[in-house]
Symmetry: C2
Subunit: 96 residues, 2 copies
C-alpha cells in the first residue's frame, strides 16, 4: 500500500469522482450492457466529459495507486475498486 501514491491520486477531483462512481456501478453507469459485476468498462467514463486519453490517464493513476483494479475482457477493460486497499488506506489515515 503506497500511501504517497494514493494521496496524490486522490488529490485530483475527477479521480475522486471516478472512485465514488465505482462504489455503485449500477446506479452511476446504467448504460452499461454487460453486467456490473464485471466492473465498469473504461469507455463508460466518457460521461465525465474529458477526452478519452485523459480518462485513460486518470484510470492509470488510480490503478498505479492500487485503488482500482483493471481486468481485460475481450476488447474492453473493466475497472473495480480494490476495497481492501481502500480500507487499509482509511486505517492509515487514522494515524494522521
Amino acid at each position: 500500500m503506497n500511501e504517497d501514491a494514493i494521496l496524490k491520486a486522490l488529490s485530483h477531483p475527477m479521480r475522486r469522482q471516478m472512485l465514488v462512481w465505482l462504489r455503485a456501478p449500477a446506479q452511476h453507469f446504467p448504460d452499461q450492457r454487460l453486467p456490473h459485476e464485471l466492473g465498469v468498462c473504461a469507455g463508460q467514463f466518457a460521461r465525465c466529459g474529458l477526452p478519452q486519453s485523459s480518462v485513460s490517464s486518470h484510470l492509470a493513476v488510480l490503478t498505479a495507486a492500487g485503488l482500482i483494479v483493471p481486468e481485460k475482457i475481450g476488447q474492453w477493460v473493466f475497472y473495480k475498486r480494490d476495497e481492501a486497499v481502500i480500507a487499509r488506506f482509511r486505517d492509515r489515515m487514522a494515524e494522521l
Copy 2:
C-alpha cells in the same frame, strides 16, 4: 471543510510528517522551552532540514486547508492540529 485543499495539502510527504509530529508535541519537540499546551512553535520545524521559508510555506498550506491553527504569541507563532477538522475529513474519506 475543504476536502480538495486538505487532500492537496496531504499529498506532500513533509506536510504529512508535520501533522504526525504535531500529534505528540512533547515527544517530537522536546527542545521547546515554552509549554507544549500552547502548540508547537514554528521555528521548531527547522528539525526537518528545510530552509525557513519552505517550512513557513508548508505550514501555510496546512493552515489554509484548516488542518492546523496558528496562534500568535509574542514574537512566535504556535501551531496546533485542528482535531475537529481532521476528524470530519476522516469521516468524509469513509465516503470515498
